[in-house]
């Protein structure tokens, strides 16, 4: 108790310096936590992916289509339970600033395959009955103030023209990791329109979504599907939904690595800042450490005082940093909701913040502690004179 009293009083001996150091730690830990949250958000789709779903796409690139006729062949592969398909629509609502993901899907099979998108039975029925109907995620509908029955027009980019849709359902995610900002509508609506306007583009599918009866079967099923279309005009690449999501993330891997590096650089900088504070503290108190030694205090007790003071300062800064991570991340999540539908502080970011704070506290105190242990009493007392 007495030692704790000394630690706290010593820590606040230079109030301004301590306050600024604590502020620095708070900002650094907060920045670290936000960057980790940002990285986690990037992988949000991967975390939400199912182990029993496969994605089949053109082996050359996602921008090349697959024939609609593949669906029946895929259905016949052993282990395949459900087959759905979709196309990226890329429509613009009002203007480019209002970006959100929108795609055409085979509605019935898609809803069967993605039970994490929860609709009421009435909404589901209404959506399936209306060919021009669409479903929006709860956050997306809230963002634009859409209500059931509203007509929404998207300007097509890949598929030119103005496309009208009627909102028939607002889904909510099964849990917090589910993206609630998506917009999907009937693939048949798109396909029938294409048959009229540009028949050469009809009956083409962007990708197939394949439900497998058991997650253990995914390697065999994916091989079987790709084997089926080998040497055809459109060879396929089938991979797990997770691998499919990761392939998107891999495109921006350099950015992610840079962010990860920055998050660690922030910690290194704050170690230097706290180490500087502790070094100043050490220099000012050499005489006091000598007095403690004179009174019979051994080196490890002095070490405990310096290390403890460093931990007190770092602990307070980190506490505020961790505490602030939540509201700031919530605010950042609102701003970035167009790009990161799920922007939530992961538990792992908090653990890393705690570990980082311990590392900062310990590393910053190592040199002053070592020097305080080693200092000869007579030399220390001479500093006072």
């Amino acid at each position: 108790m007495f030692i704790l009293k000394i630690l706290v009083r010593n820590a606040f001996r230079h109030k301004l310096r301590t306050f600024l150091t604590i502020l620095g730690i708070t900002v650094a830990i907060l920045a670290f936590g936000l960057l980790r949250t940002f990285i986690n958000a990037w992988y949000g789709g991967v975390e939400a992916s199912s182990a029993s779903r496969l994605i089949t796409r053109n082996s050359l690139s996602l921008i090349f289509f697959l024939p609609l006729s593949y669906k029946d062949k895929i259905r016949q592969v052993d282990g395949v339970k459900t087959v759905s398909w979709g196309n990226w629509f890329g429509g613009i609502y009002v203007d480019e600033k209002h970006f959100f993901a929108n795609f055409a899907v085979d509605a019935k099979s898609y809803l069967d395959l993605y039970p994490e998108y929860i609709l009421t039975p009435e909404e589901e029925t209404a959506f399936l009955r209306d060919r021009k109907g669409f479903v929006a995620g709860r956050k997306l509908a809230k963002r634009f103030g859409w209500k059931i029955g509203d007509t929404v027009t998207l300007r097509g980019t890949i598929y030119p023209g103005n496309w009208d849709f009627v909102l028939r359902g607002i889904y909510r995610g099964r849990d917090e990791s589910i993206d609630e900002t998506q917009f999907f509508f009937h693939w048949d609506y798109l396909n029938e329109s294409l048959k009229k306007t540009t028949p050469s583009r009809a009956d083409q599918v962007g990708w197939y979504m394949v439900g497998v009866s058991h997650p253990d079967l995914t390697p065999e099923v994916s091989l079987a599907i790709d084997r089926l279309f080998k040497n055809s005009i459109a060879e396929t690449l089938t991979e797990t939904e997770k691998a499919f999501q990761l392939s998107f993330i891999a495109m921006s891997e350099a950015i992610l690595i840079a962010i990860e590096l920055v998050s660690f650089v922030v910690i290194i900088i704050i170690i230097a800042v706290v180490a500087n504070t502790m070094s100043m503290t050490y220099r000012e108190r050499i005489g006091e450490y000598a007095i403690f030694k004179t009174l019979g205090y051994r080196g490890w007790r002095i070490a405990g005082m310096i290390l403890g003071e460093s931990m007190v300062i770092t602990g307070i800064g980190s506490f505020w940093g961790i505490l602030l991570t939540f509201p700031v991340a919530r605010y950042a999540g609102k701003i970035l909701s167009n790009y990161f539908p799920v922007f939530k502080v992961p538990a792992e970011a908090i653990y890393m913040e705690i570990v980082a704070s311990f590392i900062v506290g310990i590393l910053a105190a190592i040199v002053p502690t070592w020097r305080a242990i080693r200092i000869r009493i007579a030399d220390g007392l001479r500093r006072i004179d």
Binding site: F2, K293, T294, I384, D385
Partner: protein, 231 residues
């Protein structure tokens, strides 16, 4: 009286760059139990160095120092720390109190290394502060005390463990005349009434007058013995 401190053929030098500077040379000194010794000499004569060696704050190059029959030159760093905590009370020129602790807490510091309970520690601290007549200032921080009061707190801290010897390095060097006299009277009282062995380094002849024996150091050598027992 039995000898409490025996210094036998002690030498000490410091290294400054490539140069070795001898500070003490072949010092022999016996200090009796209950003695009040003043070590005098000009600056650089080695008196503070000798005091540091007696209090085990520094190590000899050669020779033996026995305190209470224990050869302290043969003890390890950690043994010396323990030995100092029990056997030596320190009084410094600049008081050297810990500024973030109250007078009470400063005096309590040496007792935290003992096995005393909190209540026992409080009793000891109260007694020590009573001896130096500062019971009513126990909750004050050093910055709230005058120089003389701070030195009295330092004396209370030095005596609270009831050490074998008290070492004082220029204890009045930073005090005005009145405060210096009070401190010297307090030390004199500790010596006469509590039979504390005191070894004091001082420049000040008026401070030395309070001692029973004065030894002079000059250029590392110990000179004459001047006994003031007739006082």
């Amino acid at each position: 009286m039995a000898p409490i401190v025996e210094i036998i053929d002690v030498s000490k030098s410091y290294q400054r760059g490539n140069r070795i500077i001898p500070v003490l040379q072949n010092i022999n000194l016996i200090i009796e139990e209950g003695e009040f010794l003043a070590l005098m000499g000009p600056s650089g004569s080695g008196k503070s160095t000798l005091l540091n060696l007696i209090a085990a704050l520094d190590q000899v190059d050669r020779g033996i120092i026995r305190v209470g029959g224990i050869d302290i030159t043969a003890l390890s760093e950690s043994e010396l720390a323990e030995w100092r905590a029990i056997n030596v009370g320190f009084i410094f020129q600049f008081y050297n109190l810990i500024p973030v602790l109250t007078a009470f807490e400063n005096v309590e510091l040496p007792l935290l290394l003992t096995g005393l309970s909190r209540k026992e520690r409080e009793e000891h601290v109260a007694t020590a502060l009573r001896v130096v007549n500062l019971e009513d200032r126990m909750d004050h921080y050093p910055a709230q005390l005058s120089g003389g009061e701070q030195q009295r707190v330092a004396i209370a801290r030095a005596i609270v463990t009831d050490p074998v010897i008290l070492v004082a390095d220029e204890p009045t060097g930073d005090l005005d005349k009145v405060a210096a006299r009070e401190i010297l009277e307090l030390m004199d009282r500790l010596n006469r009434e509590s039979h504390k062995t005191i070894i004091m380094v001082t420049h000040d002849p008026r401070a030395a007058e309070k001692a029973r024996v004065i030894r002079r150091l000059e250029k590392g050598f110990l000179n004459d013995v001047h006994s003031q027992d007739s006082r």
